[in-house]
Amino acid sequence: MSNPVIFKRLRGQSIVILLALVILVFSLLSPGYFTTQNFLNILLQASGLTIVATGMTFVLLTAGIDLSVGSIMFVAGVISGKLVVGGLSVWLAVPVTLVLGIILGLMNGWFVVRFKIVPFIVTLATFFAGRGLGLLISETRAVNLPDEFLQIGSARILGIPLPVIIMIMVVAVAQLVLDRTVFGRQVYAVGNSQERSVKAGINLNRVLLRVYIICGCCAALGGLVAIAQLGAVSPTFGFQSEFMAIAAAVLGGTSLFGGKGRVFPGTLVGALLIQSIQSGLVIVNADPYLYPLITGTIIFLIVLVDSQRHYRRKQMKGIST
């Protein structure tokens, strides 16, 4: 294989290369970083974010955005937490949480397709309403969950933490849906051009409604996975998770303009990259003031590299046409 071809392929995997570099640097700085336990920890800690970001990827692929995922995590967590504290079985709380996520996602989608309101505005409203509702129900107090919840978070199957298994299943199913189903192809088509997708006979409203439902459901599930590790739903739970979910998806190569991106490896690696940096900084006991600086610089670099590539591709297209 000639050098230009290798470089071209490497450029296409910049996020994976960056993840490898981050792992290499932190491993050199601290022997405690390159261990099976640490990698399991990174996977475990990234599991909630990855699931939420998976739903976000579907929405971003249609050129939409969902700012309400953090609030959905919170309100679904509070309601199911209150039910469990009130005596509902933990295992019944799981479907209840998912149904709540689906309902909230359906509300977002319905307003987007029925009233043609910009997704940013609809989900911003849900963002405030959801958090307000959660605070009202919880009376701004932490909902402390019974130990069974923590047992779900710390359960292992063949040595692999249950949240990690759930994350892998969600990522795999999502990528299969995007790659192998008619709906998946329609998602990309809608993101590339809504006008052309309608002309091609795609039911635009149905596709949009479904992606917001998927996003709501993933937010609730991601929240549940995080709560199972925390054992409590605090009034700040899920706050700013929407930004981390968007960052993970965009770092993974999903375009904010729609039509381009993948859950695997893209979004998964994006979430792992964020968590690997956070984990590495704690392990090397970095100065706390350096955290936002380093994380921000890395996110900026990867977005810069990707936008340059996107710009060059557009230029090439312009030349060829």
């Binding site: 601290s30 405690g32 261990t35 336990q37 640490n38 920890n41 475990l44 800690q45 909630g48 405030f128 958090r131 605070l135 009376e139 701004t140 107090r141 932490a142 402390n144 923590l150 978070g153 710390s154 995080a226 590790q229 925390l230 054992g231 409590a232 605090s234 009034p235 700040t236 739970f237 706050f239 700013q240 968590q275 956070q278 984990s279 704690v282 392990i283 006991n285 100065d287 706390p288 003031y289 955290y291």
Partner: protein, 323 residues
């Protein structure tokens, strides 16, 4: 038809404007909170409302949900409604300055609750807990407990949002307290949490993984305790006082979970902000200022440290005990 719509709209806008401009009857204080997203803030606003009621003063309340601009608008709204005094729990030390200026221009007394404003020329009263001293005393108590154990310890601190002056002062208090115990306690992990429980959980888990012998943890806020407890349980290190593998635990705030952990003998010490004192002083300072009485510019809540030895005596003053 269109005329009717515009006419209705005009009537509604007119009513709202008249309502906004109308002077509130009796003495009214505007209470503005940056957020209500922790138990501490809820306990605070409830305490302030009680103090107002006890003193026969009416109140308007507003919550900015973490948005400094919105808080500025809400305070301007208080001013246009003709409140007699303002008590504000600001977003941060800097964004409160234009709010102080606006209140000063309107000649309305203003008290700043819980966060010390950055240096400015304004006329205001600050009621604030001595975050540095309370943290230092709490960690000092924890260090004494560590010394009594007769063995060396490895310590971790959970730091709050470094843009929050209270978080910075709590960290300083921790550092200065342990500076005198370097022979005994080594700080091996500083975990920034940005006041986020998920980040706290990940940070504590990672720190415990690299330093499994950490046995001394100070959390800059009690509301991060669920994360600490979860990480300790996962590492099989959550044991009550008296157990040979007990991790010396300390916190700051005095919330309900800290109170429960003290009662259950998992928590060694907690730095308590005296919410009742601070809220009472904030409201009374504004009332005194309205009556043109002399009020100090700075009222400091010395707080106190609650621990296993003084739990029974101090529990009544711990706001989390009754929350």
């Amino acid at each position: 038809m269109l005329f009717r719509y515009y006419w209705s709209l005009l009537v509604i806008v007119g009513c709202l404007t008249a309502g906004c401009a109308a002077k509130e009857e009796g003495t009214v204080i505007g209470i503005s909170f940056e957020t209500l997203q922790t138990e501490y803030w809820v306990a605070s606003i409830e305490a302030m409302k009680s103090v107002c009621e006890e003193n026969g003063v009416g109140y308007l309340e507003a919550v900015a949900n973490g948005d400094a601009n919105r808080q500025f608008e809400q305070v301007n709204n208080f001013i246009s409604r003709g409140v007699d005094g303002i008590v504000i729990a600001p977003k941060d030390a800097h964004t409160v300055i234009p709010i102080i200026k606006a209140a000063n221009r309107a000649g309305i007394p203003i008290a700043i609750y819980n966060r010390l404003p950055a240096e400015n020329e304004g006329d205001y009263i600050t009621v604030v807990a001595d975050n540095y001293e309370i943290s230092r005393n709490t960690v000092e108590y924890m260090a004494e407990v560590a010394r009594e154990s007769g063995k060396k310890h490895k310590a971790m601190i959970l730091i709050g949002d470094l843009g929050d002056i209270n978080a910075v002062n709590r960290r300083r208090g921790f550092d200065d307290a342990l500076a005198a115990h370097k022979d005994l306690i080594e700080v091996v992990a500083e975990v920034p949490t940005e006041w986020n429980q998920e980040k706290a959980l990940a940070g504590v888990t990672n720190a415990l993984q690299v330093n499994p012998d950490i046995d001394f943890i100070f959390s800059s806020s009690d509301f991060l305790f669920p994360s600490v407890v979860s990480a300790l349980k996962n590492a099989d290190k959550y044991h009550p006082i008296g157990h040979p593998d007990h991790v010396i635990l300390g916190g700051f705030d005095g919330d309900a979970m800290a109170y429960r952990m003290l009662r259950e003998k998992y928590l060694d010490a907690d730095g308590v902000q005296d919410v009742f004192f601070e809220c009472q002083e904030s409201v009374l300072a504004v009332i005194r200022k309205m009556r043109e009485e002399q009020v100090p510019d700075l009222i400091v809540d010395p707080g106190f440290v609650i621990h296993q030895q003084n739990l029974e005596q101090k529990a009544e003053s711990m706001w989390g005990a009754s929350f």
